[in-house]
Protein backbone atom coordinates (compact mmCIF):
# COMPACT_ATOMS: atom_id res chain seq x y z
CA UNK A 1 0.00 0.00 0.00
CA UNK A 2 2.80 2.37 0.95
CA UNK A 3 4.56 1.78 -2.38
CA UNK A 4 1.36 2.56 -4.29
CA UNK A 5 0.96 5.80 -2.35
CA UNK A 6 4.56 6.79 -3.08
CA UNK A 7 4.07 6.07 -6.79
CA UNK A 8 0.89 8.20 -6.83
CA UNK A 9 2.77 11.01 -5.09
CA UNK A 10 5.62 11.03 -7.57
CA UNK A 11 3.27 10.87 -10.54
CA UNK A 12 1.55 13.87 -8.94
CA UNK A 13 4.84 15.77 -8.76
CA UNK A 14 5.65 14.83 -12.36
CA UNK A 15 2.25 16.08 -13.49
CA UNK A 16 2.87 19.33 -11.64
CA UNK A 17 6.16 20.01 -13.45
CA UNK A 18 6.34 18.25 -16.82
CA UNK A 19 3.29 19.76 -18.59
CA UNK A 20 4.94 23.20 -18.37
CA UNK A 21 7.80 21.98 -20.56
CA UNK A 22 5.26 20.48 -22.98
CA UNK A 23 3.35 23.75 -23.22
CA UNK A 24 6.69 25.55 -23.69
CA UNK A 25 7.41 23.19 -26.62
CA UNK A 26 3.84 23.76 -27.95
CA UNK A 27 3.16 20.03 -27.57
CA UNK A 28 0.00 20.56 -25.45
CA UNK A 29 -2.52 23.38 -25.09
CA UNK A 30 -2.58 25.89 -22.22
CA UNK A 31 -5.84 24.37 -20.88
CA UNK A 32 -4.39 20.85 -20.87
CA UNK A 33 -1.33 22.16 -19.02
CA UNK A 34 -3.53 23.73 -16.32
CA UNK A 35 -5.67 20.61 -16.01
CA UNK A 36 -2.67 18.27 -15.64
CA UNK A 37 -1.05 20.57 -13.10
CA UNK A 38 -4.22 20.63 -10.97
CA UNK A 39 -4.53 16.84 -11.15
CA UNK A 40 -0.88 16.51 -10.10
CA UNK A 41 -1.41 18.85 -7.16
CA UNK A 42 -4.41 16.87 -5.93
CA UNK A 43 -2.55 13.55 -6.32
CA UNK A 44 0.37 14.85 -4.27
CA UNK A 45 -1.63 16.23 -1.37
CA UNK A 46 -4.00 13.26 -1.22
CA UNK A 47 -1.20 10.66 -1.12
CA UNK A 48 1.97 12.23 0.34
CA UNK A 49 0.83 12.84 3.95
CA UNK A 50 0.16 9.11 4.46
CA UNK A 51 3.57 7.75 3.49
CA UNK A 52 5.54 10.79 4.66
CA UNK A 53 3.81 10.46 8.04
CA UNK A 54 4.71 6.77 8.28
CA UNK A 55 8.31 7.49 7.28
CA UNK A 56 8.53 9.97 10.17
CA UNK A 57 7.22 7.44 12.69
CA UNK A 58 9.63 4.71 11.53
Amino acid sequence: MKKILIIISFIGLALTLLPSFLVFASAISWDTYLLLMNVGTIMWFVSAPFWMEKKDEA
Binding site: L13, T16, P19, F24, M37, N38, W44, F45
Partner: protein
Protein backbone atom coordinates in the same frame (compact mmCIF):
# COMPACT_ATOMS: atom_id res chain seq x y z
CA UNK B 1 -20.33 24.57 30.11
CA UNK B 2 -17.36 23.20 28.18
CA UNK B 3 -17.91 20.12 26.09
CA UNK B 4 -15.85 16.99 26.77
CA UNK B 5 -14.22 17.37 23.37
CA UNK B 6 -13.38 21.00 24.21
CA UNK B 7 -11.73 19.93 27.49
CA UNK B 8 -9.70 17.27 25.71
CA UNK B 9 -8.51 19.84 23.17
CA UNK B 10 -7.45 22.32 25.87
CA UNK B 11 -5.65 19.53 27.78
CA UNK B 12 -3.86 18.43 24.62
CA UNK B 13 -2.81 21.99 23.88
CA UNK B 14 -1.57 22.47 27.46
CA UNK B 15 0.54 19.33 27.21
CA UNK B 16 2.56 20.62 24.27
CA UNK B 17 5.96 21.15 25.83
CA UNK B 18 8.31 23.16 23.66
CA UNK B 19 11.17 23.27 26.21
CA UNK B 20 11.01 27.05 26.48
CA UNK B 21 13.15 27.20 29.62
CA UNK B 22 15.09 23.93 29.55
CA UNK B 23 17.60 22.43 27.08
CA UNK B 24 16.06 20.09 24.53
CA UNK B 25 16.62 16.52 25.84
CA UNK B 26 18.49 14.02 23.62
CA UNK B 27 15.29 12.00 23.07
CA UNK B 28 13.65 14.98 21.34
CA UNK B 29 16.47 15.76 18.90
CA UNK B 30 15.52 15.63 15.22
CA UNK B 31 17.38 14.28 12.20
CA UNK B 32 18.42 16.35 9.20
CA UNK B 33 15.22 15.38 7.33
CA UNK B 34 13.06 17.59 9.53
CA UNK B 35 15.30 20.57 8.86
CA UNK B 36 15.56 20.11 5.07
CA UNK B 37 11.76 20.10 4.95
CA UNK B 38 11.39 22.95 7.40
CA UNK B 39 13.85 25.24 5.62
CA UNK B 40 12.66 24.34 2.12
CA UNK B 41 9.04 24.96 3.12
CA UNK B 42 9.77 28.10 5.07
CA UNK B 43 11.88 29.79 2.39
CA UNK B 44 9.73 28.86 -0.55
CA UNK B 45 7.13 31.20 0.75
CA UNK B 46 4.46 33.73 0.03
CA UNK B 47 7.08 36.46 0.19
CA UNK B 48 8.93 34.87 -2.75
CA UNK B 49 5.96 35.95 -4.88
CA UNK B 50 6.72 39.53 -3.77
CA UNK B 51 10.52 39.70 -3.60
CA UNK B 52 11.18 38.37 -7.13
CA UNK B 53 8.79 40.93 -8.66
CA UNK B 54 10.22 43.77 -6.53
CA UNK B 55 13.69 43.02 -7.96
CA UNK B 56 12.17 43.47 -11.43
CA UNK B 57 10.50 46.70 -10.28
CA UNK B 58 13.86 47.95 -8.96
CA UNK B 59 15.44 47.45 -12.38
CA UNK B 60 18.13 44.89 -11.56
CA UNK B 61 19.99 43.48 -14.58
CA UNK B 62 19.93 39.75 -15.37
CA UNK B 63 23.66 39.24 -14.69
CA UNK B 64 23.56 41.16 -11.41
CA UNK B 65 20.59 39.11 -10.21
CA UNK B 66 21.90 35.66 -11.12
CA UNK B 67 25.41 36.30 -9.76
CA UNK B 68 24.31 38.33 -6.75
CA UNK B 69 21.86 35.68 -5.60
CA UNK B 70 24.50 32.97 -5.90
CA UNK B 71 26.95 34.85 -3.68
CA UNK B 72 24.40 36.21 -1.19
CA UNK B 73 22.62 32.91 -0.62
CA UNK B 74 25.94 31.11 -0.14
CA UNK B 75 26.88 33.65 2.52
CA UNK B 76 23.52 33.09 4.23
CA UNK B 77 24.01 29.29 4.34
CA UNK B 78 27.52 29.76 5.75
CA UNK B 79 26.09 32.07 8.43
CA UNK B 80 23.55 29.43 9.53
CA UNK B 81 26.16 26.67 9.42
CA UNK B 82 29.06 28.34 11.19
CA UNK B 83 27.43 31.02 13.35
CA UNK B 84 24.00 29.74 14.46
CA UNK B 85 24.34 25.94 14.38
CA UNK B 86 27.38 25.47 16.62
CA UNK B 87 25.91 27.61 19.41
CA UNK B 88 22.41 26.10 19.04
CA UNK B 89 23.64 22.52 19.42
CA UNK B 90 25.96 23.27 22.33
CA UNK B 91 23.45 25.23 24.41
CA UNK B 92 20.15 23.74 23.13
CA UNK B 93 18.08 26.56 24.55
CA UNK B 94 15.92 29.20 22.87
CA UNK B 95 17.27 32.58 21.88
CA UNK B 96 15.03 34.15 24.51
CA UNK B 97 16.27 32.05 27.40
CA UNK B 98 19.83 32.63 26.20
CA UNK B 99 19.32 36.36 26.29
CA UNK B 100 17.80 36.17 29.75
CA UNK B 101 21.01 34.58 31.02
CA UNK B 102 23.21 37.18 29.34
CA UNK B 103 21.16 40.36 29.44
CA UNK B 104 18.77 39.88 32.35
CA UNK B 105 15.00 39.70 32.39
CA UNK B 106 14.24 43.36 31.75
CA UNK B 107 16.39 43.73 28.62
CA UNK B 108 15.08 40.40 27.36
CA UNK B 109 11.54 41.58 27.97
CA UNK B 110 12.16 44.63 25.80
CA UNK B 111 13.87 42.56 23.13
CA UNK B 112 11.04 40.04 23.10
CA UNK B 113 8.42 42.71 22.64
CA UNK B 114 10.32 44.25 19.71
CA UNK B 115 11.01 40.79 18.30
CA UNK B 116 7.39 39.68 18.55
CA UNK B 117 6.27 42.90 16.86
CA UNK B 118 8.69 42.39 13.95
CA UNK B 119 7.66 38.74 13.59
CA UNK B 120 4.02 39.85 13.49
CA UNK B 121 4.84 42.26 10.67
CA UNK B 122 6.63 39.57 8.66
CA UNK B 123 3.95 36.94 9.17
CA UNK B 124 1.36 39.62 8.41
CA UNK B 125 2.97 40.25 5.01
CA UNK B 126 2.71 36.54 4.25
CA UNK B 127 -0.93 36.40 5.27
CA UNK B 128 -1.59 39.43 3.04
CA UNK B 129 0.06 37.68 0.09
CA UNK B 130 -2.12 34.60 0.66
CA UNK B 131 -5.17 36.86 0.86
CA UNK B 132 -4.49 38.15 -2.68
CA UNK B 133 -5.07 34.58 -3.81
CA UNK B 134 -8.18 34.04 -1.66
CA UNK B 135 -9.74 37.17 -3.16
CA UNK B 136 -9.54 36.06 -6.82
CA UNK B 137 -12.79 34.00 -6.96
CA UNK B 138 -14.65 36.92 -5.38
CA UNK B 139 -13.16 39.57 -7.69
CA UNK B 140 -11.85 41.59 -4.77
CA UNK B 141 -10.14 44.85 -5.73
CA UNK B 142 -6.43 44.20 -5.17
CA UNK B 143 -3.99 46.71 -3.63
CA UNK B 144 -1.45 48.53 -5.81
CA UNK B 145 2.25 49.31 -5.23
CA UNK B 146 1.34 52.66 -3.66
CA UNK B 147 -1.49 51.50 -1.34
CA UNK B 148 -1.02 51.83 2.42
CA UNK B 149 -4.49 51.20 3.90
CA UNK B 150 -6.91 48.33 3.15
CA UNK B 151 -9.03 49.20 0.10
CA UNK B 152 -12.18 47.10 0.78
CA UNK B 153 -14.15 45.15 3.39
CA UNK B 154 -13.66 42.06 1.22
CA UNK B 155 -9.89 42.42 1.58
CA UNK B 156 -10.22 42.51 5.38
CA UNK B 157 -12.46 39.41 5.36
CA UNK B 158 -9.95 37.53 3.16
CA UNK B 159 -7.11 38.45 5.54
CA UNK B 160 -9.13 37.34 8.59
CA UNK B 161 -9.86 33.92 7.03
CA UNK B 162 -6.20 33.27 6.17
CA UNK B 163 -5.01 34.62 9.54
CA UNK B 164 -7.42 32.41 11.52
CA UNK B 165 -6.36 29.20 9.74
CA UNK B 166 -2.65 30.04 10.03
CA UNK B 167 -2.94 30.79 13.74
CA UNK B 168 -4.90 27.59 14.42
CA UNK B 169 -2.13 25.47 12.88
CA UNK B 170 0.65 27.38 14.65
CA UNK B 171 -1.09 26.79 18.01
CA UNK B 172 -0.32 23.07 17.82
CA UNK B 173 3.44 23.66 18.01
CA UNK B 174 6.63 22.96 16.11
CA UNK B 175 5.93 19.33 15.15
CA UNK B 176 2.76 20.19 13.26
CA UNK B 177 4.45 23.15 11.59
CA UNK B 178 7.43 21.03 10.54
CA UNK B 179 5.13 18.29 9.28
CA UNK B 180 3.08 20.61 7.11
CA UNK B 181 6.21 22.26 5.72
CA UNK B 182 7.52 18.83 4.90
CA UNK B 183 4.39 17.82 2.95
CA UNK B 184 4.28 21.01 0.92
CA UNK B 185 8.04 21.47 0.42
CA UNK B 186 8.60 19.18 -2.62
CA UNK B 187 5.52 20.48 -4.44
CA UNK B 188 5.86 24.25 -4.04
CA UNK B 189 9.13 24.84 -5.90
CA UNK B 190 7.79 22.74 -8.78
CA UNK B 191 4.81 25.09 -9.13
CA UNK B 192 7.18 28.09 -9.20
CA UNK B 193 9.37 26.44 -11.86
CA UNK B 194 6.45 25.10 -13.90
CA UNK B 195 4.58 28.40 -14.02
CA UNK B 196 7.73 30.29 -15.06
CA UNK B 197 8.60 27.76 -17.79
CA UNK B 198 5.03 27.77 -19.12
CA UNK B 199 4.89 31.55 -19.61
CA UNK B 200 8.34 31.89 -21.22
CA UNK B 201 7.02 31.70 -24.82
CA UNK B 202 4.64 34.57 -24.06
CA UNK B 203 7.58 36.74 -22.98
CA UNK B 204 9.44 35.91 -26.20
CA UNK B 205 11.57 32.89 -25.26
CA UNK B 206 11.25 30.47 -28.17
CA UNK B 207 13.96 28.03 -27.02
CA UNK B 208 16.23 27.69 -24.01
CA UNK B 209 19.12 28.97 -26.13
CA UNK B 210 17.60 32.46 -26.46
CA UNK B 211 16.49 32.62 -22.80
CA UNK B 212 19.46 34.71 -21.67
CA UNK B 213 19.02 37.20 -24.47
CA UNK B 214 15.30 37.70 -23.64
CA UNK B 215 16.06 37.73 -19.90
CA UNK B 216 18.45 40.66 -20.37
CA UNK B 217 16.09 42.62 -22.60
CA UNK B 218 12.55 41.88 -21.38
CA UNK B 219 12.64 40.36 -17.86
CA UNK B 220 15.51 41.94 -15.92
CA UNK B 221 16.29 44.77 -18.32
CA UNK B 222 18.05 46.99 -15.77
CA UNK B 223 15.42 49.75 -15.93
CA UNK B 224 13.52 50.47 -12.67
CA UNK B 225 9.76 51.13 -12.72
CA UNK B 226 8.58 54.68 -12.12
CA UNK B 227 9.27 55.76 -8.53
CA UNK B 228 11.54 52.77 -7.73
CA UNK B 229 15.28 53.01 -6.92
CA UNK B 230 17.90 51.23 -9.06
CA UNK B 231 19.32 47.94 -7.69
CA UNK B 232 22.88 46.75 -8.40
CA UNK B 233 24.65 43.43 -7.76
CA UNK B 234 25.58 44.72 -4.29
CA UNK B 235 21.92 45.22 -3.39
CA UNK B 236 21.21 41.64 -4.45
CA UNK B 237 24.17 40.14 -2.57
CA UNK B 238 23.42 41.98 0.65
CA UNK B 239 19.65 41.56 0.47
CA UNK B 240 19.85 37.81 -0.15
CA UNK B 241 22.45 37.40 2.59
CA UNK B 242 20.63 39.54 5.15
CA UNK B 243 16.95 38.96 4.36
CA UNK B 244 17.05 36.29 7.08
CA UNK B 245 19.60 38.16 9.18
CA UNK B 246 17.47 37.85 12.31
CA UNK B 247 17.39 34.07 11.87
CA UNK B 248 21.10 33.31 11.35
CA UNK B 249 23.43 36.07 12.57
CA UNK B 250 20.62 37.44 14.77
CA UNK B 251 20.36 33.92 16.30
CA UNK B 252 16.56 33.55 16.21
CA UNK B 253 17.06 30.08 14.72
CA UNK B 254 18.72 28.92 17.94
CA UNK B 255 15.09 28.11 18.80
CA UNK B 256 14.88 25.80 15.76
CA UNK B 257 18.41 24.39 15.43
CA UNK B 258 18.55 23.48 19.15
CA UNK B 259 16.61 20.38 18.07
CA UNK B 260 19.41 19.40 15.60
CA UNK B 261 21.33 16.20 16.24
CA UNK B 262 24.51 17.64 14.66
CA UNK B 263 26.03 21.14 14.77
CA UNK B 264 26.31 21.40 11.00
CA UNK B 265 22.58 21.02 10.28
CA UNK B 266 22.58 24.74 9.51
CA UNK B 267 23.70 23.62 6.07
CA UNK B 268 20.14 22.36 5.52
CA UNK B 269 19.20 26.02 5.10
CA UNK B 270 20.64 25.64 1.58
CA UNK B 271 17.35 23.91 0.69
CA UNK B 272 15.58 27.15 1.47
CA UNK B 273 18.20 29.45 -0.02
CA UNK B 274 18.86 27.82 -3.37
CA UNK B 275 15.33 26.64 -4.02
CA UNK B 276 13.27 29.42 -2.44
CA UNK B 277 15.62 32.38 -2.57
CA UNK B 278 17.12 31.53 -5.94
CA UNK B 279 14.83 29.55 -8.21
CA UNK B 280 11.58 30.91 -6.76
CA UNK B 281 12.81 34.55 -6.91
CA UNK B 282 13.86 34.11 -10.53
CA UNK B 283 10.57 32.36 -11.34
CA UNK B 284 8.35 34.97 -9.67
CA UNK B 285 10.34 37.70 -11.45
CA UNK B 286 9.55 36.02 -14.78
CA UNK B 287 5.84 35.84 -13.91
CA UNK B 288 5.78 39.51 -12.92
CA UNK B 289 7.56 40.58 -16.11
CA UNK B 290 4.76 38.90 -18.09
CA UNK B 291 2.23 40.84 -16.01
CA UNK B 292 4.10 44.09 -16.74
CA UNK B 293 4.21 43.34 -20.46
CA UNK B 294 0.49 42.51 -20.57
CA UNK B 295 -0.59 45.43 -18.36
CA UNK B 296 1.73 48.06 -19.88
CA UNK B 297 3.74 48.46 -16.63
CA UNK B 298 0.68 48.71 -14.34
CA UNK B 299 1.34 49.48 -10.68
CA UNK B 300 -1.37 47.02 -9.51
CA UNK B 301 0.28 44.34 -7.41
CA UNK B 302 -1.36 41.01 -6.64
CA UNK B 303 0.85 37.92 -6.31
CA UNK B 304 -2.29 35.76 -6.27
CA UNK B 305 -3.43 37.05 -9.65
CA UNK B 306 0.08 36.75 -11.12
CA UNK B 307 0.25 33.10 -10.01
CA UNK B 308 -3.30 32.41 -11.23
CA UNK B 309 -2.43 33.81 -14.67
CA UNK B 310 0.50 31.39 -14.95
CA UNK B 311 -0.69 28.25 -13.16
CA UNK B 312 -4.45 28.47 -12.61
CA UNK B 313 -5.91 26.90 -9.46
CA UNK B 314 -2.55 25.28 -8.62
CA UNK B 315 -1.00 28.77 -8.70
CA UNK B 316 -3.59 30.10 -6.24
CA UNK B 317 -3.04 27.06 -4.01
CA UNK B 318 0.72 27.65 -4.17
CA UNK B 319 0.40 31.30 -3.09
CA UNK B 320 -1.87 30.35 -0.18
CA UNK B 321 0.22 27.38 0.99
CA UNK B 322 3.52 29.20 0.43
CA UNK B 323 2.30 32.06 2.61
CA UNK B 324 0.98 29.64 5.17
CA UNK B 325 4.14 27.55 5.55
CA UNK B 326 6.18 30.68 6.28
CA UNK B 327 3.63 32.46 8.43
CA UNK B 328 3.27 29.36 10.63
CA UNK B 329 6.84 29.12 11.94
CA UNK B 330 7.01 32.89 12.12
CA UNK B 331 3.92 33.05 14.35
CA UNK B 332 5.36 30.14 16.33
CA UNK B 333 8.61 32.08 16.83
CA UNK B 334 6.69 35.17 17.88
CA UNK B 335 4.74 32.98 20.30
CA UNK B 336 8.02 31.84 21.87
CA UNK B 337 9.14 35.48 22.08
CA UNK B 338 6.04 36.44 24.02
CA UNK B 339 6.14 33.21 26.04
CA UNK B 340 9.48 34.38 27.40
CA UNK B 341 7.76 37.60 28.57
CA UNK B 342 4.87 35.67 30.15
CA UNK B 343 6.39 32.32 31.19
CA UNK B 344 3.28 31.21 33.09
CA UNK B 345 1.02 31.52 30.04
CA UNK B 346 0.48 28.48 27.87
CA UNK B 347 2.25 28.58 24.49
CA UNK B 348 -0.96 28.03 22.54
CA UNK B 349 -2.73 30.93 24.24
CA UNK B 350 0.20 33.26 23.54
CA UNK B 351 0.32 32.06 19.93
CA UNK B 352 -3.38 32.88 19.58
CA UNK B 353 -2.74 36.48 20.71
CA UNK B 354 0.19 36.76 18.30
CA UNK B 355 -1.99 35.41 15.49
CA UNK B 356 -4.60 38.11 16.15
CA UNK B 357 -1.99 40.91 16.06
CA UNK B 358 -0.46 39.44 12.90
CA UNK B 359 -3.81 39.28 11.17
CA UNK B 360 -4.45 42.94 12.03
CA UNK B 361 -1.04 43.91 10.60
CA UNK B 362 -1.91 42.05 7.38
CA UNK B 363 -4.82 44.44 6.78
CA UNK B 364 -2.25 47.02 5.57
CA UNK B 365 -0.94 46.36 2.04
CA UNK B 366 2.06 48.65 2.62
CA UNK B 367 3.59 45.75 4.52
CA UNK B 368 3.82 43.88 1.20
CA UNK B 369 4.69 46.80 -1.09
CA UNK B 370 7.68 47.89 1.05
CA UNK B 371 8.68 44.34 1.94
CA UNK B 372 12.36 44.68 0.95
CA UNK B 373 12.81 47.64 3.29
CA UNK B 374 10.80 46.01 6.08
CA UNK B 375 12.76 42.75 5.89
CA UNK B 376 16.07 44.64 6.02
CA UNK B 377 14.91 46.81 8.92
CA UNK B 378 13.67 43.78 10.81
CA UNK B 379 17.02 42.02 10.49
CA UNK B 380 18.98 45.12 11.41
CA UNK B 381 16.99 45.83 14.58
CA UNK B 382 17.39 42.28 15.93
CA UNK B 383 20.98 41.68 14.75
CA UNK B 384 22.86 43.31 17.68
CA UNK B 385 21.51 40.69 20.11
CA UNK B 386 22.89 37.94 17.87
CA UNK B 387 26.27 39.68 18.03
CA UNK B 388 25.97 39.83 21.84
CA UNK B 389 25.27 36.07 22.08
CA UNK B 390 28.13 35.29 19.64
CA UNK B 391 30.54 37.43 21.68
CA UNK B 392 29.41 36.04 25.03
CA UNK B 393 29.60 32.45 23.87
CA UNK B 394 32.88 32.44 21.91
CA UNK B 395 34.95 35.49 22.87
CA UNK B 396 34.31 35.85 26.60
CA UNK B 397 36.03 32.58 27.64
CA UNK B 398 39.11 33.64 25.63
CA UNK B 399 39.07 37.11 27.22
CA UNK B 400 38.48 35.57 30.67
CA UNK B 401 35.22 37.48 31.04
CA UNK B 402 32.22 35.97 32.83
CA UNK B 403 29.66 34.39 30.49
CA UNK B 404 25.93 34.66 31.20
CA UNK B 405 26.72 37.59 33.46
CA UNK B 406 23.12 38.46 34.33
CA UNK B 407 22.42 34.91 35.51
CA UNK B 408 25.68 34.61 37.45
CA UNK B 409 25.31 38.00 39.18
CA UNK B 410 21.52 37.69 39.44
CA UNK B 411 20.88 41.03 37.76
CA UNK B 412 17.70 41.96 35.91
CA UNK B 413 19.12 44.58 33.56
CA UNK B 414 22.46 44.33 31.78
CA UNK B 415 23.44 47.86 30.80
CA UNK B 416 26.30 46.67 28.52
CA UNK B 417 23.79 44.67 26.45
CA UNK B 418 21.22 47.47 26.40
CA UNK B 419 23.79 50.11 25.43
CA UNK B 420 25.27 47.81 22.77
CA UNK B 421 21.84 47.39 21.22
CA UNK B 422 20.93 51.08 21.28
CA UNK B 423 24.33 52.51 20.22
CA UNK B 424 24.76 49.95 17.44
CA UNK B 425 21.38 50.82 15.97
CA UNK B 426 22.02 54.54 16.37
CA UNK B 427 25.35 54.31 14.53
CA UNK B 428 23.87 51.98 11.90
CA UNK B 429 21.01 54.38 11.16
CA UNK B 430 23.47 57.28 10.91
CA UNK B 431 25.76 55.45 8.49
CA UNK B 432 25.45 57.11 5.06
CA UNK B 433 24.34 54.00 3.15
CA UNK B 434 21.09 52.28 2.16
CA UNK B 435 19.39 50.08 4.74
CA UNK B 436 20.42 46.86 2.93
CA UNK B 437 24.11 47.46 3.73
CA UNK B 438 24.01 48.69 7.32
CA UNK B 439 23.96 45.31 9.08
CA UNK B 440 27.50 44.23 8.18
CA UNK B 441 29.34 47.15 9.81
CA UNK B 442 26.68 47.05 12.52
CA UNK B 443 27.63 43.48 13.52
CA UNK B 444 31.29 44.40 14.07
CA UNK B 445 30.29 47.57 15.92
CA UNK B 446 28.05 45.50 18.23
CA UNK B 447 30.83 42.98 18.98
CA UNK B 448 33.37 45.71 19.76
CA UNK B 449 30.88 47.65 21.89
CA UNK B 450 29.70 44.66 23.89
CA UNK B 451 33.24 43.43 24.51
CA UNK B 452 34.42 46.88 25.58
CA UNK B 453 31.44 47.64 27.82
CA UNK B 454 31.54 44.19 29.44
CA UNK B 455 35.28 44.50 30.04
CA UNK B 456 34.62 47.85 31.73
CA UNK B 457 31.79 46.34 33.81
CA UNK B 458 33.63 43.20 34.87
CA UNK B 459 37.28 44.28 35.07
CA UNK B 460 37.00 47.91 36.13
CA UNK B 461 33.73 48.55 37.97
CA UNK B 462 33.60 45.15 39.66
CA UNK B 463 37.23 45.32 40.81
CA UNK B 464 36.72 48.88 42.05
CA UNK B 465 33.62 47.72 43.98
CA UNK B 466 35.54 44.86 45.62
CA UNK B 467 38.37 47.20 46.69
CA UNK B 468 35.83 49.52 48.35
CA UNK B 469 34.36 46.60 50.32
CA UNK B 470 37.85 45.58 51.48
Amino acid sequence: MKSKRGNVLVKKLDEINEFERTPVPPSKLKGAGSFWGMYAGEHTAGTEFVIGPLFVAHGVSAFDLVTGLLIGNLLAVLSWTFITGPIATRARITLYYFLEKIAGKKVTLLYNLVNALMFCGLAGAMIAVSATAIGIPFNLPMPSLNDFFPNSIGWIVAVIVVGAVTTAVAMFGYSVVAKFGKFAAPWMPLVFIASAVAVLPEIGVSSFSNFWEVAKERIWNGVPLEGQSKFTIWHIIFFSWFCNLAMHIGMADLSILRYAKKWYYGVTSSAGMFVGHYIAWLASGILYSLFLLESNNSLAFSPGQVAYRAAGIAGIACVIIAGWTTANPTIYRAGLALQAVMPKSKTWKVTMIIGAITTFAAFFPALVMRLLDFVSLYGLILMPMGAVIFTDFWLFPKLKLTQNYAEVRKIQFSWPVFLTWCITLLIAFLLPMEIYFKALPGWFIAIILYTGLSYFQQKVLEVRGKKKIL
